[in-house]
């Protein structure tokens, strides 16, 4: 099964290259548009069932980019074969603007879109706007399909899409997500092997490893992370805080919104970040994730114990270090409450309240989330199309199938079972991340003491929550 699928994908890629230049070039293949990947995969695809009874037009809005709109465009030719009477349009806006643009459309109760792909971090806000639809009734007629989905997508990740209450009480199914991501350790295996270091398991080991491999004289800085003085630094802090057993609030699930940032776990987290900063790339304090990845690609940074990263790092056309970058679990603290807790995020598909053609829209969402299950009306090529277009997956089985060629997927496989949501599931999450991030950056850059930064982060978080009426 494994060999056959990989063979199918390789053949598709070769066919694309052949069509274009007559000469197979891996570089050329990687540049191929997602639609061409999908078309090539669909060329020999004969679906077991054709749903000619389902029809209509659906418009799917997604952010531009390989992981998002491109993945959808790659799957579309396969979907077109299974649902020949459905007209599917995939439309997109720039990644950097799309998340807020979606909220604008939803705030305006726009009926322009039937399916939308959105970042999980925005779902609490969407819920507050009344923009989400419970997919439960649409899933119900397909128990076998859903059982397979539940078995394959790790529970912690799957429950994240149950809004409004987040992971513990299930809430309702607001979205299904074939895409997934998690914060992981990124490390240069060649450098670690040369130094005789294993991938750090605890944060103190991470600091030691950074100290060992730091080589600023040759512009090879040990550590790099998105520590810009905004929500990026907030993510770094939150990721470490969770691994020490801390959180932003006393009990989010049960509605105790007392901020708990000023705590022993908070102190340990800031201590680690401050220690790591000694071995940081000079730009790290102002970096977002795209600059971090660029620095990794250029070989000027060698290690990040906590980053979102990108699967593109393993693309041979992207970096000369593509074979050296490997991914693993993020470290944990060394107290009894500590554990590996990888912050997770991703993009899920929801049906906006004001959209139309619900049954058909759900048929498309279900198809996208079918992974390898041809026998369940999906296609074994769906995952291949997504990966071929540059996407990354949430289904464990498809991650396994690609693990031998995608180190990024190995990291995801390890991270999903221990993942936690990347931010509190409330509309105020971004504002809090931003406020805490500013305090964290000030402490790490020695503008404030650790104690003062934690105290102020607590105070600012409480004020945001007060202003939103959480304590009334």
């Amino acid at each position: 099964m494994k060999d056959r699928d990989i063979q199918a994908h390789d053949n598709a890629m070769k066919r694309i290259a052949h069509h274009r230049k007559g000469e197979v070039s891996r570089r050329r293949m990687m540049q191929t548009s997602a639609a061409a990947v999908g078309a090539a995969l669909a060329a020999d695809f004969v679906p077991k069932t054709v749903h000619a009874d389902v029809g209509g037009t659906i418009v799917h809005f997604a952010s531009s980019g390989k992981r998002l709109a491109n993945s959808l465009r790659a799957v579309k030719p396969l979907f077109d074969k299974v649902f020949p009477n459905v007209t599917l349009e995939v439309v997109s806006k720039p990644m950097s603007e799309a998340l807020t643009q979606i909220n604008t459309y939803m705030r305006s109760k726009s009926d322009a879109f039937d399916v939308i792909t959105q970042d999980h971090a925005q779902f609490a806000a969407l819920d507050a706007m009344g923009a989400l639809t419970d997919m439960g009734p649409y899933i119900e007629p397909f128990p076998e399909w859903y059982e397979d989905y539940k078995q394959d997508v790790p529970q912690r990740y799957r429950h994240m899409w149950n809004v409004p209450k987040g992971p513990a009480p299930p809430g309702y199914v607001a979205a299904l997500a074939p895409d997934g991501n998690a914060m992981m350790t990124f490390y240069r295996r060649d450098v670690f092997e040369k130094a005789g270091i294993k991938v750090p398991v605890t944060w103190d080991e991470a600091v030691e490893a950074a100290k060992e491999i730091h080589d600023p004289e040759h512009e090879r800085y040990a550590y790099c992370a998105a520590m810009a003085r905004n929500f990026w630094a907030g993510y770094q802090f939150y990721g470490i805080l969770r691994s020490w057993g801390g959180d932003y609030f006393a009990d989010e699930v049960n509605g105790d919104w007392t901020p708990t940032i000023e705590s022993e776990e908070g102190y340990q987290s800031l201590r680690i970040l401050t220690e790591l900063q000694k071995y940081a790339h000079p730009g790290s304090a102002n970096f977002g994730e795209d600059e971090v990845n660029q620095t990794f690609a250029q070989g000027h940074a060698l290690y990040s114990p906590l980053t979102w990263g990108t699967a593109t790092l393993n693309d041979p056309t992207y970096s000369e270090f593509h074979e050296d970058w490997h991914m693993d679990l993020t470290p944990k603290g060394n107290t009894p409450k500590s554990d590996h807790r990888a912050l997770t995020g991703g993009f899920g598909q929801f049906m906006p309240t004001w959209g139309g053609n619900r049954e058909t829209a759900f048929a498309w969402i279900k198809f996208l989330n079918s992974g390898d299950r041809e026998d369940l009306d999906g296609s074994p090529l769906i995952a291949d199309a997504i990966v071929g277009a540059g996407g990354q997956l949430s289904r464990a089985s498809t991650l396994s199938r690609w693990a031998d060629r995608k180190p990024f997927f190995v990291g995801l496989q390890k991270a999903y079972p221990v993942c936690v949501v990347n931010a509190p599931v409330i509309p105020e999450a971004y504002a809090i991340m931003g406020a805490v991030g500013e305090e964290v950056a000030d402490a790490v850059n020695n503008i404030k003491s650790t104690e003062d930064a934690l105290k102020d982060a607590n105070k600012r978080t409480k004020r945001i929550m007060e202003d939103s009426g959480y304590y009334d």
Binding site: K93, A297, T310, T317, E320
Partner: protein, 273 residues
């Protein structure tokens, strides 16, 4: 001799300044033909690489830049034409027809341009949504016309004020109507000013991002928004971004070259005071 040395020095300084201005443009052009691996290499290079067309292929293939180009040309071209047709009589009225409080009128018109786009973009979005104009070229043409007109009137007015009144008076004595005076007498004299105004109007709309972002999502998307799509999640596609930037720059360079005589005269005559 002294004059010549000073002249040479000024020339050298001018070349240095121009070179400094051109370095980023040259770097963007170079990046557009570098393989991605070279763009991400540990050491930047100016010349030691084999040029590639992969980013130009990608920008058209994956980012549908050809469609964005057509949209830009149509929306910006049509709106510039409408602006110029409306701006000339309006500017003439404000400059020459002795309107009561002519300066206040002129300032009031210009004040519309003071308003930041972000203040009105949401109302525009709501209106376009209500009229079913989202993702249509028409929505952008309307907005670009509305935003381009005040500035065009203002700069044309200042240019018209510099034209000799005697010609118009002679025309009036010969029995020409206002419109005949504008189109038969003023228009030929005002060509440099009109060219400069048209270029400014065209450039503002050509580079416009905010309204295009809000009012389009696919079929009517213009080049600046399409260019932004090369910024992927956690990863900037520098090669494609540079290729797109070069393509977006080319029509501007072409227009400026074609109209350079008019621009020089227009600027010298004070069209953009």
């Amino acid at each position: 001799m002294h004059q010549t040395s000073l002249g040479r020095l000024i020339n050298v300084l001018a070349i240095i300044v121009v070179a400094l201005w051109l370095i980023p443009v040259a770097w963007v052009a170079l990046t557009s033909i570098k393989p991605t691996k070279i763009i991400n290499a540990p050491e930047p290079t100016f010349y030691s690489f084999t040029p590639t067309d992969e980013h130009y292929i990608e920008i058209f293939d994956r980012f549908m830049f050809h469609r964005a180009m057509i949209n830009s040309l149509v929306t910006v071209g049509v709106s510039t034409l409408i602006v110029m047709i409306l701006a000339l009589p309006a500017a003439y009225a404000v400059a020459r027809m002795g309107l009561m409080g002519g300066d206040i009128w002129a300032l009031s018109i210009l004040s519309l341009r003071f308003m930041p786009g972000v203040v009105v973009v949401l109302p525009y979005f709501k209106m376009a949504n209500g009229f079913g104009l989202i993702d249509s070229q028409l929505a952008l043409i309307i907005v670009y016309t509305a935003f381009g007109l005040p500035f065009a009137v203002w700069i044309l007015r200042s240019f018209l004020l510099d034209l000799p009144k005697e010609v118009e008076e002679a025309g009036r004595l010969d029995g020409l109507s206002w419109m005949q005076i504008i189109f038969r007498l003023i228009l030929p004299m005002a060509r440099p000013g009109i060219a400069v105004t048209a270029i400014f109007t065209f450039v503002f709309s050509w580079n416009e991002y905010l309204f295009s972002l809000f009012l389009t999502y696919d079929k009517a998307t213009t080049m600046p928004v399409a260019l932004q799509k090369t910024i992927d999640l956690y990863n900037v596609l520098w090669g494609s971004l540079s290729a797109g930037a070069v393509i977006q720059l080319l029509p501007m360079i072409l227009v400026v070259f074609l109209l350079q005589q008019h621009i020089a005269r227009g600027l010298a005559l004070g069209a953009v005071k």
